[in-house]
Symmetry: C2
Subunit: 269 residues, 2 copies
DNA sequence: CAGTGGTCTAGACCACACT
DNA sequence: GTGTGGTCTAGACCACTGC
């Protein structure tokens, strides 16, 4: 029957849900957290464990309410937050879906560089060129960013993105070796679509949020060559750490952006 | 008695609120929008009109529910969104407050530049120096950004922010002349606190959101001099348009940020 | 048509702050 | 204690999707 986990206090002996029963038990919990937060945590676990995969629907609110023995409203509030965090997408009349980077809508969610004239949609897809892809040992710096130890195996990728034939972005990526075991330059080159979508389907790694550190820099000789600019041209240095569920860092990415035809866009609120 | 505006369909002749009454009337509305959105709009109007000023409390959820003749839950959902947009701040047990840039917490909400070591809080306040403050006619570019016509009066301010004695930010600001009529260099220099807080208290202009366009550039001779760097040093160019309520642009700000000791931080989600 | 998410209500009780 | 926001429930009905 109900083999699903259920919040601690809700699973104790009181099947009745007359007004205030659940609330009454909350005060017994030492480390108090609202019921809907606990439900959110349970749903998060299921997302994490892959019970529902990116693009699939999760059970309906009523089903989840029955599973967790809470009201639909409580499940709703839990899903509201997951939806606000872009972990899940609601579609009226259809259901709630596990968010994925494969959807057109979410293609460039983490890329804030836009062409100066017109929006990113009209620009056409970026032309991607893998420059390099090799396994090596994590430097202290890379290890710290990825939560590894120095010397742990990592994968390093260098690539260039061009728009309308103009190389615009030079990126170096570091990925933890273990989760990305089978990744090769060939695999990357052959795949047409967002890199994060490939990570989802091939390696079960879904990027959920990221932090970026931005600076203005000059390129070194090789960087300048790859981007086709002089070494005196100022470029945007964008260092990104991307996280999966549980705030686990899974990618370090250092990008150099040309800002003569594009700009980094940020909305503050 | 109730002299307050009330949503159109809720004010029509049905004082009973048995299950579904209000909903039944929604379908009669051609341009349908949920009740709580309409309530949100009404609260927004009151914020905009200055019925409740920054830092003050707004009426309790129960009071607003009574005023608008809806349930507390509906008011709650409206305020939830206003809170998510940082227009309002909830404090359990105390009330809901109109957000203000004067609070310590919100001091640097729009300034994403952080010291490389340690966080912005430990850095101490920026040392501000007003370089220039003059009235002039809007150029085409400034007029477009501020939603004015070329030649309309605008106020231009140039200032430098230094941290620990090191000039780090050079900013040029353009403000529409009419709303900021009494603003002078003296007023700016004498005021100790966030500039946006001064705008609130002195001019009733509250900045609600902003868009930033970021590029890497080299400074011109004067900019380099004011920041104490060479003209070959790459700097972050941050162009910000800040908006009040109703998406009305009220400030154009062009900042040059040094990124040798600081960095621009951005969280993606 | 049934099923899904979305809105609305009413009422209870909890956690917190002030008095 | 009183009043505020915060949580939870139960039940109704609306809007949308697809069978």
């Amino acid at each position: 029957m109900a083999t699903h986990p259920v919040p601690a206090y809700a699973s104790s002996a009181n099947p009745t849900f007359g007004s205030g029963d659940a609330m009454g038990m909350q005060s017994l919990t030492p480390a108090f957290s609202p019921l809907y937060q606990q439900i959110k945590g349970l749903i998060l676990q299921s997302l994490q464990s892959g019970e529902w995969k990116p693009g699939e629907t999760i059970p309906s609110e009523m089903d989840l309410a029955a599973r967790f023995r809470v009201s639909q409203g409580t499940v709703r509030k839990a899903i509201d937050e997951l939806s606000a965090e872009n972990l899940v997408v609601r579609r009226q009349g259809k259901g709630t879906f596990v968010a994925t980077h494969a959807e057109q809508q979410m293609q460039y969610r983490f890329l804030k560089l836009q062409p100066d004239n017109g929006d990113a949609q009209n620009e056409g897809p970026a032309e991607r060129t893998i420059i390099d892809c090799k396994r090596l040992r994590a430097s202290a710096e890379v290890a710290r960013a990825l939560g590894l130890r120095s010397g742990d195996p990592v994968l390093q990728v260098r690539r260039v993105l061009a728009f309308a034939g103009v190389p615009t972005i030079l990126e170096d990526l570091w990925l933890p070796g273990t989760p990305f075991k089978g990744l090769t330059a060939e695999r990357l080159s052959d795949y047409h679509g967002p890199m994060y979508a490939l990570f989802e389907t091939e390696f079960g790694v879904r990027m959920v949020r990221a932090d970026e550190t931005i600076r203005a820099v000059n390129p070194d000789a090789e960087q300048a060559r790859l981007l086709g600019v002089g070494i005196a041209v100022p470029l945007l240095s964008v260092e990104r750490v991307a996280y999966t569920y549980n705030d686990t860092p899974m990618e370090l990415r250092r990008g150099l952006y040309r800002t003569d035809t594009h700009h980094y866009r940020n909305a503050l609120s």
